[in-house]
Homo-oligomer: 259 residues x 2
């Protein structure tokens, strides 16, 4: 009886969340754990497991407990691209201190007729997207003339700040490679919570390698864009999240970390 009532309450909440004419359904929500501000300050303790994350999306990016590699989620699988540049299937029990995922459904498809480097890819999308004020999930799939990525090495406590970690980041180059770029374009106002602008990761078609995207040159690709009008942020309950100082904006640090 109690369980039935519980299920009914859950059902009512879900209907409340989905049944509103102007609100996107549950599938069209970017789900995020923690904030980029906390990650910049060294809050690398994992809180949400990959198993949990997959309930909120089949597509996205992030990192892992102790900053052990770059995360890329694609078609419901979560990959861990470690400091050796290789991609591993992430165990369901592995946890993340920072990740953003959603269920990917393309609203727009673009097939560029010329080769695009990273900057040109950004400019091309900026021209074609309807507004800079909503969130976009981005998938760029096909053949690339060149890809350059980086990954982050696993850290030990006491954790250094992120800007220190990326000073010694290993980078990887992939000439003439098939694969998929996965990530987001987010509005300026998410600053502090997530990365404004473009934040992209890459994985090879055979799912063997990849990383955080630093440079690219497309050859024959299809760009898919998923327009997203809602985001759901869950803050950590444990680890360093309650302690770190996120009140001060560290100008330029995010750019140094993400580029």
């Amino acid at each position: 009886m109690k369980i039935q009532r519980g299920l009914l309450m859950v059902l009512c909440s879900a209907v409340a969340l989905c049944g509103c004419s102007h609100l996107p359904d549950n599938k069209d929500v970017l789900f995020q754990t923690s904030t980029i501000s906390a990650l910049l300050e060294g809050a690398y303790d994992g809180e949400v497991t990959c198993k949990e994350l997959k309930k909120h999306g089949d597509f996205g990016i992030g990192t892992f407990d102790a900053l052990d590699g770059e995360m890329l989620a694609l078609e419901g699988k979560v990959y861990q691209i470690r400091a050796d540049g290789k991609a591993y299937c992430a165990e369901d029990s592995l946890s993340t201190p920072f990740a953003a995922v959603k269920f990917f459904e393309a609203d727009k498809t673009i097939v560029p007729d010329t080769s695009l480097n990273f900057k040109e890819l950004e400019e091309c999308l900026d021209r074609l997207l309807p507004t800079k004020n909503i969130l976009y999930a981005l998938k760029v799939e096909g053949v690339f003339k060149y890809i350059k990525t980086r990954s982050v090495p696993k850290q030990r406590k006491p954790y250094p700040r992120l800007v220190e970690v990326v000073k010694n980041q290993p980078t990887f180059e992939f000439p003439n490679i098939r694969g998929t770029i996965v990530g987001f374009r987010l509005p300026a106002y998410v600053d502090g919570i997530n990365v404004p602008g473009y934040h992209l990761h890459f994985i090879t078609e055979d799912r063997s390698a990849g990383g955080h995207l630093l440079e690219c040159s497309t050859s024959n690709v299809t760009i898919e864009v998923d327009y997203t009008r809602a985001f759901f942020v869950v803050l950590p309950e444990h680890g360093d999240f309650y302690q770190v100082d996120m009140t001060e904006k560290k100008e330029g640090e995010l750019e140094r970390v993400e580029k």
Copy 2:
């Protein structure tokens, strides 16, 4: 059959949202429509109705379509405090361009043993709350020696920017009054999305008047705090939201608007 499958999918989504050990349940989520950046730029077109809003919370603050007054939601009722300082029951069909609500459940209760002005109330809470890095819903109920509020007058298109509107805001004083302060303390990193720090509205015990809180002096009050670790932001699909320029931070504008 189709409806049954639809309900089942909704149920599964809800279980996914609620059934995770580290994630707060649906009731402990701050629900927000639009962003403070958009409101600062004059995006005052209502999108979410009060009826929809009440599905996401029984407690909160905001404003109304065309900036027609201050919103205060308390115990499941939504009040509209218009430019005459009077509180009206908001119709379910009335819509809002910006509001934040949640289901209020106190995690901490404080009974101050001295009178507190606004600044002292903030300092008292800052000392007692466990971290500056999560969200708090705040309810201060009882007798006040003094309350000063303001409200905003309904605007006409083309809408002026918010900083222009508040230059001529009507203010209201309430000596020796019973009532309730309703609002939030939000972390620094929500800047651009909502108001960092304290943002409070007031309504009298007889629900006849109130407004955006400018000054207070407590006499005999109980403070209740609801610790909140998740927020859900839904962005408008219509009106000016897609057009306004939210890329530039206008230093000091938010302070001028909110104080």
